[in-house]
Symmetry: C2
Subunit: 205 residues, 2 copies
């Protein structure tokens, strides 16, 4: 009976996790498509195909839903960091991260949150999974930034923090969606354009 219970519980937990994953995917898509304010909890529930009250059994607020989406993104970012060849040049590591960010946004999987919303901000800061992921990613990027500056591949006059912010800002760069809306460029072309303007700037070289 013990083993039966174990199997049964494990199966239930698996179902639970699967459902929560389905919820997070829906939240992620809706956040990417409409942003936090325009997304409603009703839409999330309808998208997943469950009742709204059931949703609140998994996540206790709309802010928690957004936080879960951000944790998901952070986990994917951390996974990417581990797949990067450690021997590559720091500047190329940074390019790879930005490339991944732009591709995620083009795929409609990058949640967009208002940076001013204070209750959302509080929820994110209180979320240990999110903060830990953010710190780890920032540490990796920070190390690469300083290394690239030391190697003369990145402008050493720029404060590392400003470089870091500029890289993160690609996650909410409106140029990406505007270029996509214009339909004059393919997704790979947009990736290269954004990478070019970000690293090489607008001026001729």
């Amino acid at each position: 009976m013990g083993s039966h219970n174990t199997v049964k519980t494990s199966f239930k937990e698996q179902m639970l996790l699967a459902r929560e994953d389905a919820i997070i995917q829906a939240v992620n898509r809706l956040l990417a498509e409409k942003g936090f304010d325009a997304m409603t909890v009703d839409q999330v529930a309808a998208d997943v195909g469950i009742a709204k009250a059931s949703l609140y059994k998994h996540f206790s607020s709309k802010e928690d839903l957004a936080a879960a989406a951000m944790v998901w993104v952070m986990r994917r970012a951390q996974a990417l960091l581990m797949t990067l060849p450690p021997e590559a040049a720091p500047i190329d590591q940074l390019r790879a991260i930005v490339r991944w960010t732009v591709e995620l946004k083009l795929a409609g999987e990058m949640p967009s949150l208002p940076s001013q919303n204070s209750s959302l901000r509080a929820t994110l800061i209180a979320n240990k999974d999110y903060m830990d992921g953010l710190m780890q990613v920032s540490d990796s990027l920070g190390a690469w930034i300083e290394a690239a500056q030391a190697q003369g591949n990145l402008n050493p006059k720029l404060p590392a923090i400003a470089v870091l912010y500029t890289l993160y800002a690609r996650a909410c760069d409106p140029v990406i969606e505007f270029l996509k809306m214009g339909q004059q460029h393919t997704d790979p072309e947009i990736v290269e354009l954004v990478l070019s303007t970000c690293f090489d700037g607008l001026v001729a070289r």
Copy 2:
């Protein structure tokens, strides 16, 4: 009596315009501080010091308020364009525009609107003053972009539309507010940092 009426009407109209200007200033400040979604019409009314119903005698919707703020910004941009020395190099004209944009944002006078909101989008597109201003500004910038590319000062491989979007995007660049929040740099330093990353990119030159 004719002249009396004329004077009276003129005075009333002046009062009306002054009040509408006060409204627009309040909207502008609130849009810059909290964004469109977080700004409430009640706050605007309280800020101006009139009743909400009075507000709706001047502007028929929240979207119209935001549109008026954007028209104000466009007018200021057009005014700036006229003050620029026509003999300056095109690349310097573009730098001057971006500098002005960043400074306006640092001053808390650049309204921030959600680019996804469709009803707001419709209101803006339907606003002739806004669209005319946008077109005129875009024409000026477009001409400078192509000239700068022809002179070899701007990367000729970049589509002019991508450059234009990249310049406009400085108006909602989160790097600016993040650097300001960090309190490690003065406003002029932030302006130079953003100008540098925008035009020269992150890489060493």
